[in-house]
C-alpha cells in the first residue's frame, strides 16, 4: 500500500508539479479528555466570563495624557471623559491603550516562541518529544486548557503558536480607529490577548526545556553566582543581555568543545542570564536589566551579545563609549548594524577587535558561539583586567565631577524616582562624605535621564555607582537556577491544602525591577511570607534580585528556603517565559487535585481558580509591556495581582468595591442557590506604595470564598497579624471574612467576638462562644461556588 509521508514529492511525468504533505492525521486523534466548550477560543467565546470579572472588578483608569494622538483627525482633548473626533471617550481610549500594551507583551513572548520553535525544529526535528521529566504528565496545562491540545512533540507546538498568533492579530485589529465603543469590550480583548500571551510563554519555555535539556521540574537545581561583583578579572568576560537564549547558547557549547569553559566568564543580564544558567550552571547572573549601564560602564564586558526585549535602546552607544564590541542577534533589535551573517568568522572577529565596526548584526547562533569568545579574548588581551571595576580612574576624578554640580535640580525633575542627586552632591562638596550619594544607588535604575538633563554634563550614574562601590560590589550572592514546571506530584501534595486554605497562599513575585524602594525590599517582603509558610514562586528579574541580597550570615533566600513547591518553599521557575508554569500550576491544581477537565475548558478552570486557589501575583517594579500582559493573563485566570506604584502608569487597574453588597455573589452548586459572599478577593489588579502595604495586600488577597474554616482561620490569622504589625491596628474589613466563630484566629477569638458584638451589632451566644447572627453568610462545608451559569448547570444536572 502506498503510504503518505511528510515532505515534498515530485510526481512522475509532471515535472513542474510537486506536492507538499504537511501534518498527516495518522490516527484518530487520541481521546485524552472530552472536549470542553471553548477550544481555540476567538475574541467572543470567553467574553461572558470577562464581563463577569469586569462587573465585579471594575476597570479603573488613570490617564497619563489628556489627549489622544492616535490618528490624523486628532489630536483630541479627551479630558474629563470627553469624546474625540472619532467618537471615542477617554475611558475607552485608555482601555484601547491597555489593549495595545497587552498586544505588545503577547507578541513579544509569542514571537520569541516562534523564533525558538522554528529554529529548534530545524536543529532537532519536529518529532523531538516533549518530555518534562517523570513527574510531569500534565505537560502543557495552559495549552490544554486554552487551545485544547496535548502537545507531544516540538512540531505539535506549532498548532498552539498559530492559534496565539491569530488571536493577537485579531485583537490588534480591534484597536484600529473606529472599532470598539465600550471600554468593557476593550478590556475583554486585553484579557483575551493576555491569555494568548500565557500560551506563547508556555510554548517558548517548553520548547527550550526539551531542546536544550534545561532542568525539568527539579526542585534542587544548582545555585549560581549572582550580582555585580561576580567576575574574575583575570578572565575575558562575555556578557549576554536580553530574553532569547537561542543566540548566545552556542557560546557555551563552543567553549566546552574547546575545553576552555573555565578560561572565560559568561555572565548575563535579565532573562537570557537565567536561561544561560539553565543551560549551564557555569554561567553567572550579573543582575536585572537595570544593571546594564552598571556593568558596561564599569568595564566588566569584553564583548556584549544582545538579543531582544527590555534592552537599552542606546546599548550600542553605551558599548562604544566603553570600548566594548557589540553583537546584536535578534531581528527585533538590529540596532542599525551591518548584517554579517555571510562573513567568515575571522573577518567578523577582525572587524570587531580592530574597531572597524563598533558592532555587528549576526543572527546565526553557531557563528555567535565562535565569534564572541574570540572577540572577548582579543579585547581582554588589549585591556587586561585593569579596566574592570572602575567607574573613574581615581578619586580626584570623581571629586572633580562632584564639584561641577551647581544644585540646579534639573536631574531631580528628570529622574523617574525624583532622586535628590543635588543633595548628595552638595553634601559631598562640603564634607567629602559620599554617603548621601551612595544611598541613591540602592534605588537608581541607571536610566541616564539625569545625565541628559544636567547642564554640567556630570556623569551622574558613575558618581552614584562609585559612591556606593563597596556595597554594590558586595551585593553578590546565589540564585537557584530556574527549574521550569511544577511537578504533578507536588501539586498532588499541596493541591488540597491550598484549596482548603491550610497553606495560606501562593505568592508569585515576577517581573521587572522599577521598585519604589531599595532592592532589599523585595527580599523583606517575600521573607515575611516564607517564614509564614506560604509558597513563594518567582521568575525573571525579581528572581535574580533575590539572589543578590544576603542576611547577616551571608545567605540569600535561596540558601535559606528549599526549592520545592510546598509550604515555605521558594521556587524559581526561570525566565519571563517560565511564568507560564505559574499559571500552569494553578490550572494543574484544578485538574490534578479537583479532577476538573482542562481541554478547551477555560472559563470553568478560571472560575475554579478565582473561587478556590489562594494565589496572588506580585510585581514590585513592573515596567515592560510583557509585565502588563502577564498580569492581565493572570487576571483572566482568576489570579489577582499586586503591583508596585509604578504599575499605576499602565493606566488601568481592576478594583472591586467591597461596600457594594450586590456585586459579591456566586451560585452555590450544593444548595442550588445564588448567594451573597464575602468580597474575596476584592481586587484583581491593584497598586501599593510601600513594602508594608505590599505585605498586607498580598495577605488579604489570598483569602478565597471556598476556604474551609481551618483554612480561613489560618489566612485570617496571618492577615490580622500582619495588619497589626505594619498598620498598627486590626484591619478595617476583617469581619466581612468571618462566617462562623471557627474562622477566627484562636488566640484572639474572645476579643474579636466582643468587637463583633459591640461594634458591629452581631449576636453572640457567650455560653457556647458562638456567633448567632451577623455574617454575610454562614459557613457550609459543602459550599461549591461558581460564577459561571454553564458550570452551575453542568454540576447541578440530574
Amino acid at each position: 500500500m502506498f503510504e503518505l509521508k511528510k515532505g515534498a514529492f515530485v510526481v512522475d511525468e509532471l515535472r513542474n508539479v510537486s506536492i507538499h504533505i504537511g501534518k498527516i492525521v495518522e490516527e484518530e486523534e487520541e481521546e485524552w479528555e472530552e472536549a470542553g466548550p471553548t477550544p481555540k477560543p476567538g475574541i467572543i467565546e470567553l467574553r461572558k466570563w470577562d464581563h463577569k470579572l469586569l462587573e465585579r472588578y471594575e476597570p479603573f483608569y488613570a490617564p497619563m495624557q489628556d489627549f489622544c494622538n492616535l490618528c490624523t483627525m486628532g489630536p483630541c482633548d479627551l479630558s474629563m471623559n470627553k469624546k474625540g473626533a472619532c467618537g471615542i471617550d477617554l475611558k475607552t481610549a485608555k482601555a484601547r491603550l491597555v489593549t495595545i500594551a497587552c498586544c505588545i507583551g503577547a507578541s513579544a513572548h509569542t514571537a520569541h516562541a516562534r523564533h525558538l520553535v522554528d529554529h529548534l525544529i530545524e536543529e532537532y526535528g519536529e518529532d523531538l518529544p516533549i518530555d518534562l521529566g517523570g513527574n510531569v504528565n500534565v505537560e502543557a496545562p495552559v495549552m490544554r486548557t486554552v487551545v485544547g491540545i496535548k502537545p507531544k512533540t516540538l512540531g505539535d507546538l506549532r498548532e498552539a503558536l498559530s492559534w496565539a498568533e491569530k488571536e493577537i492579530v485579531k485583537v490588534l485589529h480591534s484597536v484600529h480607529i473606529g472599532n470598539e465603543e465600550s471600554y468593557f469590550d476593550y478590556e475583554s480583548k486585553a484579557l483575551h490577548v493576555s491569555m494568548a500571551d500565557h500560551v506563547g510563554m508556555e510554548v517558548a519555555d517548553i520548547a527550550q526545556i526539551v531542546a536544550y535539556n534545561f532542568p525539568k521540574a527539579e526542585p534542587n537545581t544548582p545555585l549560581v553566582d549572582t550580582g555585580f561583583g561576580i567576575v574574575d578579572v583575570s578572565k575575558p568576560t562575555i556578557v549576554v543581555v536580553g530574553h532569547n537564549v537561542m543566540y548566545a547558547r552556542p557560546v557555551t557549547d563552543y567553549l566546552d568543545e574547546q575545553g576552555r569553559l573555565d578560561d572565560f566568564e559568561i555572565a548575563g543580564l535579565c532573562c537570557t542570564a537565567h536561561d544561560m544558567t539553565r543551560y549551564s550552571a557555569k554561567a553567572k547572573i550579573f543582575g536585572p536589566i537595570y544593571y546594564q549601564l552598571r556593568v558596561i560602564r564599569a568595564g566588566l564586558a569584553d564583548v556584549v551579545i544582545s538579543d531582544e526585549q527590555c534592552i537599552r535602546a542606546d546599548l550600542l552607544d553605551a558599548c562604544k563609549k566603553a570600548g566594548v564590541p557589540l553583537i546584536a542577534t535578534s531581528d527585533a533589535a538590529v540596532r542599525g548594524l551591518p548584517d554579517v551573517s555571510e562573513w567568515p568568522v575571522e573577518k567578523i572577529v577582525d572587524a570587531l577587535v580592530s574597531g572597524k565596526l563598533p558592532g555587528v548584526f549576526l543572527p546565526v547562533p553557531e557563528k555567535v558561539g565562535q565569534v564572541a569568545p574570540l572577540v572577548a579574548e582579543a579585547v581582554f588581551r588589549k585591556h587586561g583586567g585593569e579596566r574592570k571595576y572602575k567607574f573613574f580612574e581615581n578619586d580626584e576624578q570623581l571629586m572633580e565631577e562632584v564639584n561641577k554640580c551647581t544644585q540646579c535640580m534639573n536631574c531631580v525633575f528628570a529622574c523617574p524616582h525624583s532622586l535628590r542627586v543635588d543633595q548628595g552632591m552638595v553634601h559631598a562638596q562640603k564634607t567629602g562624605d559620599l554617603s548621601k550619594l551612595a544611598k541613591l544607588e540602592e534605588i537608581c535604575i541607571a536610566c541616564g535621564k539625569c545625565e541628559q538633563a544636567c547642564p554640567k554634563n556630570i556623569k551622574i550614574i558613575n558618581v552614584i555607582m562609585r559612591a556606593n562601590y563597596d556595597n554594590l560590589y558586595n551585593k553578590t550572592g546565589k540564585t537557584r537556577v530556574g527549574r521550569g514546571p511544577i511537578q504533578d506530584t507536588e501539586i498532588r501534595k499541596v493541591g488540597q491544602p491550598i484549596v482548603f486554605g491550610q497553606i495560606p497562599g501562593v505568592i508569585a513575585a515576577v517581573g521587572c525591577i522599577n521598585y519604589p524602594d531599595e532592592m532589599k525590599s523585595i527580599v523583606e517582603i517575600l521573607e515575611e511570607f516564607l517564614k509564614r509558610r506560604y509558597i513563594v514562586v518567582t521568575s525573571g528579574c525579581h528572581a535574580m534580585d533575590i539572589g543578590m541580597i544576603k542576611d547577616e550570615e551571608g545567605k540569600t533566600l535561596y540558601e535559606k528556603y528549599p526549592g520545592d513547591f510546598d509550604a515555605g518553599g521558594l521556587v524559581n521557575v526561570g525566565s519571563c517565559v517560565s511564568n507560564a508554569h505559574i499559571s500552569g500550576a494553578t490550572i494543574k491544581i484544578a485538574n490534578i487535585f479537583a479532577m476538573r477537565p482542562l481541554r478547551g475548558n477555560y472559563a470553568e478552570i478560571a472560575d475554579y481558580v478565582l473561587n478556590r486557589v489562594g494565589a496572588v501575583g506580585f510585581s514590585w517594579g513592573p515596567y515592560s509591556h510583557k509585565a502588563a500582559s502577564i498580569a492581565t493573563g493572570f487576571n483572566r485566570l482568576g489570579v489577582p495581582v499586586v503591583v508596585g506604584p509604578h504599575g499605576t502608569k499602565y493606566r488601568r487597574a481592576y478594583i472591586g468595591k467591597p461596600w457594594k453588597k450586590d456585586k459579591w455573589w456566586v451560585y452555590d452548586i450544593k444548595t442550588k442557590q445564588k448567594i451573597n459572599i464575602e468580597p474575596a478577593p476584592d481586587s484583581l489588579l491593584v497598586a501599593v506604595e510601600t513594602k508594608e502595604e505590599a505585605i498586607v495586600q498580598l495577605a488579604r488577597l489570598c483569602i478565597r470564598p471556598n476556604d474551609t474554616s481551618a483554612g480561613r482561620q489560618i489566612k485570617l490569622t496571618h492577615y490580622i497579624e500582619l495588619h497589626q504589625k505594619y498598620y498598627g491596628d486590626l484591619p478595617d474589613d476583617w469581619p466581612v471574612y468571618v462566617r462562623s466563630e471557627a474562622d477566627l484566629p484562636l488566640k484572639q477569638r474572645e476579643e474579636l467576638l466582643r468587637i463583633l458584638e459591640e461594634q458591629h451589632g452581631w449576636k453572640i451566644d457567650w455560653d457556647k462562644k458562638k456567633i448567632v447572627d451577623g455574617p454575610i453568610r454562614p459557613y457550609d462545608a459543602g459550599f461549591n461556588p461558581t460564577l459561571v451559569e454553564e458550570v452551575y448547570a453542568k454540576y447541578t444536572k440530574g
Binding site: 471594575e58 489630536p75 478594583i655 497598586a687 506604595e689 502595604e693 498598620y727 484591619p731 478595617d732
Partner: protein, 181 residues
C-alpha cells in the same frame, strides 16, 4: 520680547491640534488658599501616604490636621505612626488606588457612611503615584483635589508649588496651612 496682555497684539492661546497637550493644570496656590479651600469644604478628607513612614515631620503635620477635625484615610502603612500618636484614621486598610476608585463612585458614602467627600487633600505620596491618582480624579470625578506634597501636581485642582533645595520652607508651608485652618 514676549507679547504681554496689555499690548495690541493678540495673546497666544493653546489649541488642540498644535500644542503642548495639557487640558487643565492645577492652580498653584499659597498655603493660605489651601486653608481657605479646606475650610469651605462640606466633607473634607485627608489621605496620607507611605512617605509618612520615611519622614517623621509629615506624621506630625498629619496629626495636627486630625486635631483640626479633618478625618484621615491612612494608606500604605501610614496608619501605624498616626495611631501611635493617638489619631484614629477613618480608613487604614485600603490603598490609595482603591480609595481613588471608591471616591469616583456616586454611590460611595464615605468611610463613615455619611456621604462622599467633596474635597480631598493628599499628603505624603510618591509623586508619580499620586500624579496618576489625581489624573483619575480630575477626569472622572468632581471632587476638589489638593496636593500639599513637595512636588507641584498638575493633575490636582490646587497644588503647592514645587520643591526647592530647602525642605524647611516646605514644612513652613504646611504649618501655614494649619495655622490658617
Amino acid at each position: 520680547m514676549a507679547v504681554t496682555k496689555e499690548e495690541k497684539f493678540p495673546v497666544a492661546k493653546r489649541f488642540d491640534i498644535a500644542d503642548v497637550q495639557v487640558s487643565r493644570d492645577a492652580t498653584a496656590v499659597k498655603p493660605k488658599i489651601v486653608a481657605n479651600v479646606i475650610k469651605k469644604a462640606k466633607r473634607p478628607l485627608l489621605i496620607t501616604g507611605g512617605q509618612l513612614l520615611k519622614d517623621e515631620k509629615l506624621v506630625e503635620f498629619a496629626v495636627k490636621f486630625a486635631e483640626k477635625g479633618i478625618p484621615i484615610a491612612a494608606t500604605a502603612g501610614s496608619s501605624k505612626p498616626l495611631i501611635e500618636k493617638g489619631v484614629k484614621p477613618v480608613s487604614k486598610t485600603y490603598t490609595l488606588h482603591q480609595i481613588t476608585q471608591f471616591l469616583q463612585d456616586e454611590e460611595f458614602k464615605g468611610f463613615d457612611g455619611s456621604g462622599n467627600y467633596d474635597t480631598v487633600v493628599f499628603l505624603g505620596f510618591l509623586p508619580y503615584y499620586l500624579s496618576r491618582m489625581l489624573s483619575s480624579l480630575k477626569h472622572f470625578s468632581k471632587i476638589t483635589t489638593i496636593a500639599i506634597d513637595e512636588f507641584y501636581q498638575p493633575h490636582a485642582k490646587f497644588s503647592f508649588t514645587n520643591l526647592t533645595k530647602d525642605r524647611e520652607l516646605y514644612y513652613s508651608m504646611l504649618q501655614e496651612v494649619l495655622d490658617n485652618l
